[in-house]
Point group: C2
């Protein structure tokens, strides 16, 4: 079983409008709403990949109830179980207003989580992780959760014998590195503080990945969007490039990458095979309109076009 | 008891952002959410005016549950009872993004209501209206509800001996006029189709009010925003002007006016007194940041500055 953690779970709302004019009123043509947050996207992709997945996180209020109802609908379809810990606060919403080719996004910060609620989560997590082969820790955390959160969750996973993939940034990532996660997977923007500058080139991304390993990650993958990613593994380093450009919505491609890495780890694939598959799934996710979806047929088609080169 | 009808009930969400840049991502600084829709605003103002109010409408899904929970909180405070008829569809949300002095609004259309759900509402309404002295019919209706809706609700109210105030536009208003509502109260923009042109001047507004009476309204009031309103009553016609300009949020001022008209009708006030009070409440509502709120002390202060002139 793969355990995915989404501490800042959300309802992702999508409005379609003909155009966006600040200061005026708009009739919304179509409304979409579904459970979201990076960890939820990861869980969706893993479910599509045929994995047995448990999704955990914090959920509260009417938005939390809506998240639970949406996930219950998914559970009926596939191997996804949601084990959400209740909180008193109202879970957040995100709002994406789609106007023509542009998207305007509004992100709520999330509810304040109390120390007691965080302790209840840690207790629940310790029970769930005992049955997990891989744990994926994704995204930001709501107010009230300490910066040491992912470090603590990584330590607990290792004690239980589970491998950890962390896709986060800032203090959450930096503190977790000392616990030696199996894979750290930030994107090029997210390593800017670590590197002291944005990672613009492949050399920058490689240097950032080496720094992540120096700080404790066993393998570090720094993604560069449509250009692919670099991977510094315990043995060798690789540059992984898509063979062709996929047009669409890049939101969620990083989550698809994290999911595919977890999939590969559970299957015991060697690094070149694992990285090739992961790059294909991430690229195929770009073609899907909604984060968390991907086209399995497209992923299979793209797989042979991916270039995996030792660097 | 005053019965307020809100067929297109909503959760009104307010986001505060430092600035709005189409095509980019925004962190939301503050989030507000409460039950809304014109009929809900009317019910809030009537409750503040000390009236015994029953609010009815259609509510469904997680948004409907959030509306019911919010109204239950209000019920504890004052004389408001919510009698919402359940529907299968998801009640709508409205989103107001506040950036500096500007507000950008997104309005969902509302859920599709089935013929069976509409019949269930009519049955519930017939029971509620039996105890009402005045019924207020406000705003748009969700898809699936016939254009004859307010005509039918007006007829049922009259059979039960209740007076009707209608604040709507288009076919909903036009069909209801034939049933002789006690007061029709559109705003100057909403009478454009009736008049064949926008009502820009007091003469235009008076002409529109006379047309509303000609089509069946016993009294017609056409509001002109900050300039006040004109009233064509069975005896005389009046121009009602605020004595001083109130700055703030005009959203909801029309609902406050409808509420104050209902308040005056139940108290049997003569037209000049009723119109003066109503204008003061509407003007005071502009000073309140949220639609449905008004400052009773400011309304009392403004009352003496209102000019009510026969025309």
């Amino acid at each position: 079983m793969i355990l995915t953690v989404c501490l800042n779970i959300a309802i992702d709302t999508t409005y379609t409008v003909p155009g966006l004019v600040p200061g005026s009123s708009h009739r919304v043509a179509t409304v979409g709403a579904r459970a979201g947050g990076k960890g939820v996207n990861v869980a969706r992709v893993l479910t599509s990949l045929g994995q047995d997945v448990v999704l955990t996180g914090l959920a509260g209020g009417s938005t939390g109830a809506q998240v639970a109802a949406d996930l219950a609908g998914l559970t009926g379809l596939a191997g996804l179980t949601a084990e959400l810990v209740p909180i008193a606060g109202e879970s957040r919403r995100t709002m994406a207003v789609v106007h023509g080719a542009e998207v305007t996004v509004f992100n709520e910060a999330g509810p304040l989580v109390t120390a007691e609620e965080w302790r209840a989560f840690l207790e629940s997590y310790a029970g769930l992780v005992a049955a997990a082969g891989v744990v994926v820790l994704s995204g930001s955390v709501p107010p009230g959760i300490p910066a040491s959160a992912y470090a603590e969750l990584t330590g607990t996973a290792h004690t239980a014998g589970a491998a950890v993939i962390i896709d986060a940034e800032g203090e959450l990532l930096h503190e977790a590195l000392a616990q030696g996660p199996e894979i750290a997977k930030p994107n090029a923007n997210e390593v800017a503080t670590l590197l002291g500058r944005p990672a613009r080139t492949t050399d920058d991304a490689t240097e950032a990945a080496e720094l992540l390993v120096k700080h404790g990650a066993k393998t570090a993958i720094v993604s560069q969007g449509a250009e692919g990613f670099v991977a510094v593994t315990p043995g060798k380093s690789y540059a992984v490039r898509p063979g062709r450009l996929v047009h669409g919505n890049p939101t969620g491609a990083g989550d698809a990458l994290a999911a595919a890495l977890a999939d590969g780890l559970t299957k015991g694939q060697d690094w070149p095979e694992l990285l090739r598959n992961a790059a294909a799934v991430a690229a195929a996710a770009v073609a899907a309109p909604l984060a968390g979806d991907f086209d399995a047929r497209l992923a299979a088609e793209l797989r042979n076009t991916i270039q995996v080169e030792e660097v």
